[in-house]
């Protein structure tokens, strides 16, 4: 249909702008590769046999043809574990950001849209959450509910809620007073419709950019908490947990640290590049 064809023009404009940034495109490609690896490794590797099974004969082998990244102190193939671990990092990064984006930006947008004392109360409460250091919040949640992936996601998500709420509020404040918002009211649109159909779509770009860069932040934090034993429980090959497991062998078997570390670094770098590209593409000053 003609209409849908035309409508993609606006999106293709953002895409064209995004394409100009070479780093962002490379980042996107790398990110896609990581996603594919995460999906494929779930299908290819057997969790029991390839990931967690202890093979005493294969302990601490250096990288070779059979074991590309070598094996760890329990004889597990590091390559398989790194690939298999991608899903945890990606899942934790994405889900915890989704939690904080949905909750944070809805609360922030609502506060800004309603205004008055309601806004003040909501924002002060949100800032109260900001006062608690992220690591304390994680320790609290993990020690109360136990170390598991969902709890880690929840803790990470909650600790970034205030940032998203403040960003969303600022963004809605600038959109709220535009003439087209008043025009849609004059058209008879209800307040909810104005908020969801007109205010939020126009305020979304800074939130989107922030969300992208927060994903990498959450992946690093998740790895960090796992390293400290607060995150993903041990037999699971989460990258941070692998770093933690390999720590005693760092002098003689550095590849135990290098490969999971590289995996974290490449993923985070790729996502950050995508975030940069998105920011440039969505910037109204550069667009059009």
């Amino acid at each position: 249909m003609k209409k849908s064809h035309k409508k993609t023009r606006n999106k293709s404009l953002i895409w064209r702008q995004f394409k100009k940034n070479k780093g962002a495109v490379i980042g996107l490609v790398v990110f896609c590769v990581i996603v594919v690896i995460a999906i494929v490794s779930v299908i290819v590797f057997d969790f029991e046999a390839d990931i967690t099974a202890v093979k005493a004969a294969d302990r601490l082998l250096p990288p070779s043809k059979e074991h590309w990244f070598g094996t760890d102190n329990l004889g597990r193939d590091v390559f398989a574990r790194v690939c298999y671990g991608a899903q945890y990092s990606l899942l934790i990064g994405v889900v915890s950001v989704i939690i904080s984006v949905v909750f944070g930006s809805l609360v922030g947008a609502f506060a800004a849209f309603v205004g008055g004392w309601i806004e003040t109360v909501i924002m002060r409460l949100i800032e109260l959450l900001l006062m608690i250091p992220g690591i304390l919040l994680v320790i609290m949640i993990v020690y109360t509910f136990g170390a598991s992936i969902p709890n880690l996601m929840l803790a990470l998500g909650l600790s970034t809620v205030p940032h998203f709420a403040r960003n969303a509020r600022a963004s809605v404040l600038t959109v709220r007073n535009n003439e087209y918002i008043e025009a849609s009211r004059a058209l008879g649109a209800s307040e909810l419709r104005v908020l969801f159909k007109h205010v939020l779509p126009n305020a979304i770009s800074p939130i989107l950019v922030q969300a992208t860069s927060r994903i990498s932040g959450c992946i690093i934090s998740a790895a960090g908490y796992s390293f400290l034993g607060l995150g993903v429980p041990s037999p699971l090959p989460e990258w941070g947990a692998m770093l933690s497991d390999g720590r005693p062998f760092i002098y003689n078997y550095p590849y135990l640290e290098i490969f999971p570390g590289l995996a974290i670094m490449i993923t985070v770098l790729a996502i950050n590049q995508i975030g940069d590209g998105l920011r440039d593409a969505l910037d109204p000053k550069l667009k059009r």
């Binding site: 409508k7 004059a186 649109a189």
Partner: protein, 348 residues
């Protein structure tokens, strides 16, 4: 069958209405209460608008024109705004007494507004078709597909090819955008159309096209219009009646002929005198001296007295009352208590 019926509704004539006036406002007062001061934006005005008529609301920036029409839609932000009136009847319904839900049904359906700047009054994230369709979806409860079809028809009516309905506002020129805004406002065939300086942001050739279009559509749909402007040329071109506003009051009101040919109020005279003289290109501009008064001041006398060259001592002390000069023509000036008072313009 149901759908067919609903479709028919959108292309029908304006909403049924009995009674002489589609709009009846009495003693409208609007003030904005901020922490530092109270701004008296509108100080007791009466407005009546008949079916199919066009009323021009003329005045300087800050005279309270926009506040007045926003109050008709009950869109004055409260707080800080405070709206008081004996009555604001739109289509016979008292706007002051309606619930939010009822208000939403009236807005856009019975009384619609065209905003000043077409560059900012369209939502940048939706196609123009979707934006026109929104009124059909809200008021006529059409499905998105039906609404988009109706929107295309409406685009054709305002002179934009229907194929362009899938384009975004930034792909349109200023004049085209204002056509889209007009299409949105007239989509549900409102009884009253408020045009808040609809051509101020457009250049002169486009102004003419847009005004012609509005005139044409108003005739077609029998819409009554309130035209806010500070361009007297536009008033002469489009309006049946004129109300001149100054400092939140209507100082002179009458038919186009009353106000233009038979000017009575010194302020209206000043407005005409400050137009550039096309016949004598060397003549200097002749503006009204001084500035519009501080709206935080409550006047004991006539607010225009300081700038008025006919002002006498009583003008500063006594509030002017409305004087009816004929059935249609009224003026708010104390000097007309004197039988032989005439302003210069009417002496010519």
């Amino acid at each position: 069958m149901e759908i067919f019926k609903r479709k028919k509704k959108t292309v029908q004539q304006p909403k049924a209405f009995e009674g002489e006036y589609v709009l009846d406002v009495e003693d409208l007062k609007i003030r904005y209460e901020t922490d530092d001061a109270v701004v008296y934006a509108v100080n007791g005005i009466d407005l009546k608008l008949k079916r199919k008529q066009t009323l021009g609301l003329v005045g300087e920036t800050g005279a309270g024109k926009t506040s007045t029409v926003l109050a008709l839609l009950k869109l004055i932000p409260t707080p800080p705004g405070v709206v008081e009136a004996k009555k604001i009847l739109v289509n016979g319904k008292d706007v002051m007494a309606l619930s939010d839900k009822q208000l939403q049904q009236i807005r856009g359906n019975e009384i619609a507004m065209v905003f000043q700047d077409p560059m900012t009054s369209l939502d940048p994230v939706y196609t123009v078709g979707e934006q026109i369709a929104e009124s059909y979806m809200i008021h006529d409860k059409l499905s998105k597909k039906e609404a988009l079809e109706e929107a295309k028809k409406m685009l054709e009516i305002v002179g934009i090819p229907a194929e362009r309905s899938g384009e975004f506002p930034y792909q349109f020129s200023g004049g085209m955008k204002q056509r889209v805004v007009i299409a949105i406002a007239l989509a549900c065939r409102p009884n009253i159309l408020i045009a808040d300086e609809p051509t101020t942001a457009l250049d002169v050739t486009i102004q003419l096209q847009v005004l012609e279009l509005m005139k044409q559509l108003n005739e077609k749909y029998q819409t009554s219009t309130i035209m806010i402007t500070h361009d007297l040329g536009i008033v002469a071109e489009t309006c049946d009646e004129v109300a001149v506003m100054y400092a939140g009051q209507i100082v002179e009101k009458g038919t186009l002929e009353d106000v233009f040919e038979n000017t009575k109020h010194p302020y209206t005279e000043g407005l005409f005198n400050s137009l550039p003289n096309m016949n004598d290109r060397n003549s200097k501009l002749n503006p009204i001296k001084g500035l519009i008064p501080d709206p935080t001041i409550v006047f004991t006398g006539c607010p225009f007295a300081e700038r008025c060259r006919y002002a006498k001592e009583k003008c500063f002390k006594q509030k002017p009352t409305v004087k009816h000069l004929s059935e249609s023509h009224q003026v708010k000036c104390l000097r007309y208590d004197e039988a032989d008072f005439k302003i210069e313009r009417s002496l010519k």
